[in-house]
């Protein structure tokens, strides 16, 4: 079975994509991997991998339908559709039915209840999947939700399916970079994974959000490990987090201002000689130990 590891955090900007990218580079030395960016609202994994924005394959996807109103067919103005809409997405404007596409969930109740066939549910292109082979030779699959569209959870599911198609062998590995938060796209990203790496930083906000995302992790009963990024920002809180999660602690990463310069030059930390590269390597070793407790594990 292919193993799936997701990287999640609750809070945004604490280092999910940074860690996913560099773990991918470490794992790729020993295993067949695919890296999946399921942060479909703001996919940045490719940048942390130092990859250019060029793709060998791009596929537009449609996971939603939205109503198109044929006002000319609406004879009796019965108003069943706006009354029926639970999301208050339909209204009359100048004697014409209007759909607010930002409020519409695409459930199709309006179409169902219209006696005159005024409403047609039409598929919308709400996102795309981009694929490339990275400089290190492993595939990178990126999901992108088009701004203004809904259905991020479904786009996440699609991008993971695409990633699965690219791996088959036992001990192959999928690394999934999740969105921040705890809502539909995070639920879709975590739902069927074998292990979750939760990254946090020693700030009260990140610590609180770690506990929030852990409720999702526990809901699906997924084994997890905790990483503390920028650990020296607040050593007291770092100690506390480490103690709270001592059975699940994977390691810490130091605070390093040079990261911003590196990433601005498309240079992964993996390719640098920064001290934090060792921190990440240590975390990589910890995860490997947890995932393959069998010492005879198969390597590439």
């Amino acid at each position: 079975m292919v193993k799936k590891i997701a990287i999640s955090s609750g809070k945004g900007g604490v280092g999910k994509s940074m860690l996913t990218a560099n773990l991918a580079l470490f794992f790729a030395q020993k295993y067949n991997i695919v890296a999946v960016d399921s942060d479909v609202d703001a996919p940045n994994l490719s940048l942390w991998l130092g990859e250019e924005n060029k793709w060998s394959d791009k596929e537009t996807i449609s996971t939603k339908k939205k109503p198109q109103v044929h006002n000319d067919k609406c004879d009796d103005r019965c108003s069943k559709c706006p009354e029926q809409c639970q999301f208050k997405a339909m209204s009359w404007e100048n004697n014409e039915l209007k759909v607010n596409r930002f409020l519409c969930e695409g459930c199709g109740a309006c179409q169902y209840f219209c006696p005159d066939g005024v409403i047609e549910m039409k598929p919308v292109n709400n996102g795309e999947i981009k694929i490339k082979t990275t400089q290190k030779g492993f595939p990178l699959v990126v999901g992108q939700l088009f701004p203004g569209e809904t259905g991020s959870g479904e786009v996440v599911t699609k991008v993971k399916e695409k990633g699965s198609e690219l791996l088959a062998e036992e001990d192959d590995l999928m690394l999934i970079d999740s969105s921040p938060g705890t809502g539909c796209s995070v639920i879709a990203a975590l739902r069927d994974v074998d292990f979750v790496v939760l990254i946090t930083e020693p700030t009260p906000s990140a610590y609180e959000d770690l506990r929030k995302v852990l409720e999702v992790v526990d809901h699906f009963n997924i084994p997890f490990g905790v990483v503390i990024n920028k650990a020296d920002l607040n050593s007291k809180l770092t100690t506390k987090i480490k103690k709270d999660y001592q059975d699940n602690f994977l390691g810490k990463i130091g605070y390093e201002e040079k990261v911003y310069e590196l990433v601005s030059n498309f240079q992964p930390i993996f390719e640098s000689d920064l001290e934090i590269k060792k921190d990440i390597k240590n975390i990589f070793n910890q995860i490997t130990n947890k995932l393959w407790s069998d010492p005879k594990r198969k390597e590439k």
């Binding site: 940045n44 459930c107 701004p147 203004g148 938060g181 809502g183 796209s185 020693p202």
Partner: protein, 276 residues
């Protein structure tokens, strides 16, 4: 009474400093004599209360969504609801009662409206809480907090905004500042809709630039006015940010300098001591 001005603080990328900018901006307006109501609309991970050294203890309202329940006495197992459900969330074996799969149900109401016997009763389920903190005279916080494992969080955002508007009217606030979630998905859209101005907070990294482009695209589609706040100014490279800002014919109107000091104050909940 005229409508109170609403300003949203968003940014696409997580961790660019939306909450930091919200608090710093709120303080700036407050010091200029405005009565400011902050709304934390990052309902999956609300953190503004922490940055303001508050705790979430006063629930002022709850957010609900409606889900179907079955009155077996009225149900005649006709199968209309199962057939009508657009999400395939109702399962019905032959000769059995319909069963609702709440993981797939989005509460669209087709089933209870289609049922000829009134056997499906919409039932309110709590999906989140709205909290209030009065911090100083003329400086308050409304926080929306979604229940964990909730797929669709935008109704909690909606509720938080409604509560905030009513409270701001009642207490005569001059300004509502809305801190959104990261990303561009439904709950962000709900936090941005119909605001008077959007501050898009970004950072001078390629990720900041990429995500700024996405959020400004959304803001444009929502037909809203926007200004850009550059956080962590001084690190990385700002050329890419400036290009995105130019492409949308916008301006960087605020800059927050990069500082480890700020990060440390943030980590100790002492953001209010930061001067810039």
């Amino acid at each position: 009474m005229s409508r109170i001005k609403e300003i949203a603080v968003t940014g696409g990328k997580g961790g660019t400093g939306k909450s930091t900018a919200t608090i710093l901006l709120a303080k700036k307006f407050f010091q200029a004599g405005k009565k400011v109501l902050v709304v934390d609309a990052d309902v999956e991970c609300p953190n503004d209360y922490l940055l303001l050294n508050q705790s979430l203890s006063t629930v002022v309202e709850k957010a609900y969504a409606q889900f179907p329940t079955l009155d077996k006495e009225k149900c005649r197992q006709c199968g209309l609801c199962t057939e009508a459900c657009p999400n395939n969330a109702i399962f019905q074996a032959p000769g059995e009662y319909p069963v609702f799969n709440y993981d797939l149900c989005d509460g669209c109401g087709t089933c209870w409206n289609v049922c000829p016997y009134g056997a499906i009763i919409p039932k309110k389920k709590e999906i989140g809480k709205i909290y209030k903190n009065d911090i100083k005279e003329g400086f308050s916080l409304i926080t929306g907090a979604a229940k964990p494992i909730l797929e669709e969080t935008s109704p909690v955002v909606q509720k938080a905004r409604e509560v905030a508007r009513a409270y701001a009217q009642e207490k005569g606030f001059d300004l509502i500042l809305i801190d959104t979630a990261p990303g561009t998905h439904c709950s962000v859209i709900r936090a941005l809709m119909n605001t008077d101005l959007v501050y898009a907070v970004t950072e001078p990294t390629p990720m900041g630039a990429y995500d700024l482009d996405l959020i400004l695209d959304l803001v444009k589609k929502l037909d809203l006015k926007a200004e850009v706040v550059l956080n962590k100014a001084g690190v990385g490279k700002r050329e890419k940010i400036e290009k995105v800002v130019r492409d949308y014919k916008l301006k960087i109107t605020e800059e927050i300098p990069y500082s480890k000091k700020l990060a440390e104050l943030y980590s100790r909940n002492k953001l209010s001591e930061f001067k810039y």
